[in-house]
């Protein structure tokens, strides 16, 4: 079984109100100089057939019209990502 972590991000150029809301809240909390906040999603899973992961991501985990995704395979010995 291969362990994977999928990061799903809103595409550049599409308004991300969640990111903007986070960004606007930061100065009031004392964090200056933080910008371009974009909020996405992270899905972790175990797959018997990692070759099918890109298809799974395109069909369900992400909407390719509005989101980009990135698959990280996680080494079983540690949770540090290794690129496939």
């Amino acid at each position: 079984m291969a362990r994977a972590r999928v990061l799903i991000r809103p595409k550049e150029g599409i308004l991300d109100p969640q990111g903007k809301a986070v960004e606007r809240a930061l100065p009031a909390l004392g964090f200056e100089g933080v910008g371009h906040v974009r909020v996405g999603r992270m899905v972790e899973l175990e797959a018997e057939d990692p070759a099918r992961l890109p298809e799974l991501c395109e069909k369900l985990l992400a909407n390719p019209l509005i989101e980009d995704f990135e698959i990280e395979m996680i080494n079983a010995a540690s949770s540090a990502p290794t690129n496939p």
Partner: protein, 223 residues
């Protein structure tokens, strides 16, 4: 005429949709998401609500149901399909309509009456007897992820081909939808989706019966 109104776990507006269908004319029944049976159905409604809790993305899971596979075949054969709110989201996720619905620009769930301008619109199937083009309808909007988006080239193409079916009247856009788009149809004209809820505007008791015009428009083709 027989209407089929889909029902997913988490749908909540299918009951009002059933009533609206019957007021527009004919009989209506629910189509449970696990069935593919649309044999006796003349028109399909994909209703509003929170199918699968809007988990992952609104409509993202419902689009893979057996009922939606049957709807895709029904639509490919030219059958009329009306998607309302979550139904619009499901149809976009299924690729039966172009574009996507994103979280409202103001990050707030919106629940208020909006004025819709019916754009260059032919009812599914092309009949003119119930053409509502040019009318202004007062319809409730009730959604958290209703901001219509598509790449600029797609929006240009939709406008050029008359596929924009409904726009929010000036000042009425509740969610930042691109080009004030409240609803679109597919190129063939038989699949229609809109974010506001015509099924909640069919009785004087709730202030507007304009929603009935949308259902009558779909029904009028098949009368």
């Amino acid at each position: 005429m027989r209407w089929g109104v889909l029902q997913f776990p988490g749908s909540c507006d299918e009951r009002d949709a059933l009533r609206a269908c019957e007021l527009a004319g004919g009989e209506a029944r629910l189509v449970w998401h696990e069935t593919r049976d649309l044999d006796d159905v003349d028109a399909v409604v994909v209703p509003g609500g929170f199918s699968y809790g809007d988990y992952l993305r609104a409509g993202a899971i419902a689009r893979f149901s057996p009922a939606m596979e049957a709807v895709a075949e029904f639509a490919a054969a030219g059958g009329p399909v009306l998607g309302i709110c979550n139904g619009f989201q499901v149809l976009c996720e299924a690729g039966l309509l172009p574009g996507a619905l994103l979280v409202n620009e103001g990050m707030r769930f919106v629940c208020r009456q909006v004025e819709l301008e019916v754009a260059a619109f032919s009812p599914p199937g092309g009949g003119q007897s119930s053409n509502i083009a040019g009318e202004t309808l007062s319809i409730p909007a009730k959604h958290g992820e209703g901001r219509y988006w598509a790449p600029d080239e797609t929006l240009d193409a939709l406008e050029a081909s008359g596929q924009v079916a409904f726009r929010y009247a000036p000042g009425q856009n509740p969610n930042g939808s691109a080009r004030e788009i409240a609803g679109v149809r597919n190129a063939a004209g038989n699949v229609l989706g809109l974010m506001p809820h015509p099924e909640h505007a069919v009785d004087e008791m709730t202030g507007s019966t304009d929603g009935l015009r949308v259902f009558e428009s779909v029904a009028g083709v098949l009368a």
